[in-house]
């Protein structure tokens, strides 16, 4: 066994367990069948004027109780790992139990799970068992960030129940978002633009989508620095996760101060990857639930 460095230590454990057990057995037999000190004494000692110990024999049922427990223990230690590096007759281990449970799980549930992979999203969205499973998956894995109702948290995590998608709304894009995660990066602009221009471009961004916008001084700044990602009309770019700026939906808040902060300090939202935590079936359920 890997966790037992040498035979010596294994022997030590076995020795200690057996000697201890044997000692206990001897004591028990001694108590039941051996000579009793008090029986020889004319009287039992009396402490503190009236405190003494009776001489009743230990009850026989107790003898059988501890004997049964000890027999069980010996049998258990024969069957399961316990005595040092001896693996036990059943060759049980946590790993083997885990694998066995996995195999059982696969036989029972895999047919249904594989069928899911073939089922169209629209059908899944009608299936109550599938949808309640997805809601449970969301509650356990996603709600901490995106909120119990998936409506996001202001300034941190996007609303997943609206029509505005940073990284795309098709099932394939959402699958990609959940599986691999997303790292949005917008550098801080303060050092590039200076305070004045940050203010101007923030006002421009807030006005985007209105006819007056292009008259604002921020227009020029935007055209020079921002369109590569956010697009000339501010409609964003889902390949980069650059948000649409010409609507009234804001991930990090739409007040002048919020927008200035986003621009000045930059933003780096991170959606973690779930590839190692959820399997394809789970993710399919979630996508069906999010696009229902």
């Amino acid at each position: 066994m890997a966790d037992m460095p040498t035979d010596f230590w294994s022997g030590w454990i076995v020795g200690l367990a057996i000697v201890g057990f044997a000692g206990l057995v001897m004591l028990i037999f001694g108590i039941y069948f051996g000579k009793q000190p008090h029986e020889e004494a004319a009287e039992a000692p009396v402490w503190d004027s009236d405190l003494s110990e009776g001489n009743n024999p230990a009850p026989l049922w107790w003898f059988w109780l501890i004997l049964a427990l000890m027999v069980f223990c010996v049998m258990y230690l024969m069957l399961y790992p316990g005595l040092g590096s001896y693996a036990g007759a059943l060759h049980w281990s946590q790993q083997s139990q885990y694998e066995q449970h996995h195999a059982e799980f696969a036989t029972v549930h895999d047919p249904a799970r594989h069928a899911l992979a073939e089922t169209p999203y629209a059908t899944l969205a009608q299936d109550t068992v599938a949808m309640s499973s997805a809601a449970r998956l969301f509650a356990d894995n996603c709600a901490a960030c995106h909120g119990a109702d998936a409506k996001g948290q202001h300034n941190l995590f996007p609303n997943l129940r609206d029509s505005d998608w940073l990284w795309g709304s098709t099932p394939e894009q959402i699958t990609q978002t959940i599986t691999a995660g997303r790292n949005a990066v917008m550098i801080p602009w303060l050092s590039v633009l200076g305070e004045e221009k940050v203010k101007q471009v923030a006002s421009y961004v807030r006005a985007l989508g209105t006819p007056q916008a292009d008259d604002l001084p921020g227009h020029a700044v935007f055209m020079q620095f921002c369109i590569a990602c956010h697009g000339a009309d501010g409609s964003g770019n889902q390949l980069l996760g650059a948000p649409r700026l010409n609507d009234n939906i804001w991930l990090y808040g739409g007040s002048q101060a919020d927008v200035e902060l986003s621009i000045a300090k930059g933003r780096t939202g991170q959606m973690p990857s779930f590839a190692g935590r959820l399997d394809a079936t789970d993710i399919r359920l979630l996508v069906a639930w999010l696009t229902r």
Binding site: M1, D3, M4, I13, A17, G20, G23, L24, L27, I31, Q36, A42, E43, A44, P45, V46, W47, D48, S49, L51, S52, E53, G54, N55, N56, P57, A58, W62, L65, I66, L69, M70, F72, C73, Y76, L77, Y80, G82, L83, G84, S85, G88, Q94, F105, V108, H109, A112, R113, L116, V129, S132, A135, R136, A139, D140, A143, A148, T281, D282, L285
Partner: protein, 495 residues
């Protein structure tokens, strides 16, 4: 030491320090249980910390556990150990000044330790959260405790050592060993240290400590209390000497192995878990032997049981002791633990032991002890009887609520639907627990109000009275240790 048995020099027991420890113990009981109530309330109203870090669950939980175990529990154990060891040795305490040091130094450790936990100092090991300065202080006080206790035994005048002293002695030795080994750590600043162990080893050492703290403090120590006060109060001999011997050794032997049952299905080796599991099962036998021994001891004193609240508490505590020590071995079985671990079932088990056994046996002992210390009747037997009902109801409701909550949690978390997905989210399960948590809060409030009532009752009992000076009775000649240098008891020296 003055006059070793010179003529006419009467010797008395040192009981004032006992009284002081009893008072501190009650104080900590009231405070630490109030913190327990607050915790229970936070389960129902999670915002009850008002955004204050020192009121947050993580900070006050260890204040509850440390306050109750070390404040209430250890003060009670120290006090009753000092009381009984003198009487079963027929000598005054060895180094009484050191006993006073133990008494006060311990309270300072508990008080400052509690405050340090509120301030966020923690070594993060459960029941050993206190940081290294406190670890050292505890060691010092504990060694002093050992000197007083074993010194008294060494200077005893009666040859056989009474069984309660075996348990108190085991408490002192084993806790010293556990405390020192588990707290070996490298200090970096006054409030931070790092354990000498890492990973799985750290876990094993921690639960070797954790479980045996339960074993030798919450169980062994309180058994010492039981073995002295139960027969004393019932006026009967301990039923079976042999049963006490076999249960003491079987208990001591098996407990030491049992710690890793707290770590089933973890990164520690399987063989460690298995040995812990089988030893936990064996533990059922000595535990029940003790319970039976206790119950048979009172069996000739049933009439007294009807009228005497102190005895009622002690006998009921035995029943809960039997319950907790039956439940424990069951929880230690791998497949049961797979369900129970991480659920409120553990909390139910803890408090069936803590409220039903530890608190009740201490309450019974104090109801017996305090009036005798001052030579008065208990202020109100009626109040004590009401307290008994409150304590019983509080304990039962507490553990019923936690069983229901714990077993539902265990089963709901494991339940899967046809797709092989978990049937319930964590949040769903937890939000369905509210009624149980509310019931636990109610149960705790009942239990706590009983404790308050007792504090009042005992306070009225001792108000304005002095601790009696009790003369040491002579030892029957047959069992006397004859000191060659000086005759211990005054009268003898005349010849």
């Amino acid at each position: 030491m003055k006059g070793n048995g010179m003529l006419g020099e009467a010797e008395y027991y040192h009981d004032k320090v006992v009284m002081r420890l009893v008072q501190f113990s009650m104080l900590w009981a009231v405070l630490a249980m109030a913190v327990g109530l607050w915790l229970a309330a936070e389960f129902v109203w999670p915002t009850l910390d008002f955004g204050q870090f020192w009121l947050s669950f993580g900070r006050i939980r260890p204040v509850h556990t440390n306050g109750i175990i070390f404040g209430f529990g250890v003060s009670a154990l120290m006090g009753t150990a000092f009381y009984s060891v003198q009487r079963t040795s027929h000598v005054p305490l060895f180094m009484p000044k050191l006993a006073w040091f133990c008494c006060y130094a311990w309270q300072v450790v508990v008080l400052l330790g509690g405050l340090s936990l509120l301030a966020g100092w923690t070594s993060t090991k459960e029941y050993a959260e206190l940081e290294w300065p406190f670890d050292i202080a505890i060691t010092v006080v504990w060694v002093a405790f050992a000197i007083v206790f074993f010194g008294t035994i060494a200077t005893r005048r009666i040859r056989p050592i009474y069984i309660s002293n075996w348990f108190y002695g085991a408490l002192i030795i084993v806790i010293a060993m556990l405390h020192i080994v588990n707290n070996l750590e490298v200090p970096v600043t006054i409030d931070k240290s790092y354990s000498l162990y890492a990973g799985a080893q750290d876990a094993i050492v921690e639960w070797w400590y954790g479980h045996n703290a339960v074993g030798f403090l919450l169980t062994g120590g309180f058994l010492g209390m039981l073995y002295y006060f139960l027969p004393k109060h019932a006026g009967q001999p301990i039923w079976s000497y042999r049963l006490s011997v076999v249960s003491f050794w079987a208990f001591t032997y098996s407990y030491i192995w049992a710690g890793p049952h707290h770590l089933h299905y973890s990164a520690i080796p399987e063989w460690v878990q298995s040995l812990a599991m089988v030893m936990s099962l064996v533990l059922l036998a000595p535990s029940w032997a003790t319970m039976v021994n206790g119950i048979m001891t009172v069996s000739k004193a049933w009439p007294k049981l009807k009228s005497d609240p102190a005895l009622k508490f002690i006998v009921l505590s035995l029943a809960f002791y039997g319950l907790a020590t039956f439940e424990g071995p069951m929880l230690a079985i791998r497949s049961v633990n797979a369900v129970s671990h991480f659920t409120d079932w553990t909390i139910g088990h803890v408090h069936s032991g803590a409220l039903g056994w530890n608190a009740m046996v201490t309450y019974g002992t104090f109801y017996y002890l305090v009036p005798r210390l001052v030579g008065r009747e208990l202020y109100s037997t009626r109040l004590a009887n009401i307290h008994f009902v409150l304590a019983l109801a509080g304990t039962l409701l507490y553990i019923l609520a936690m069983w229901a909550a714990g077993i539902s949690q265990g089963l709901l978390w494991l339940s899967v639907n046809t797709l092989g997905e978990l049937s319930f989210s964590f949040r769903e399960v937890m939000s369905s627990m509210k009624p149980y948590y509310a019931l636990r809060l109610f149960a705790g409030a009942i239990f706590w109000s009983g404790t308050l009532m007792m504090t009042y009752n005992l306070w009225r009992t001792i108000k304005g009275a002095n601790v009696l000076k009790v003369l040491i009775p002579p030892v029957p000649a047959r069992w006397r240790i004859n000191k060659s240098v000086a005759q211990p008891v005054g009268v003898e020296a005349q010849a």
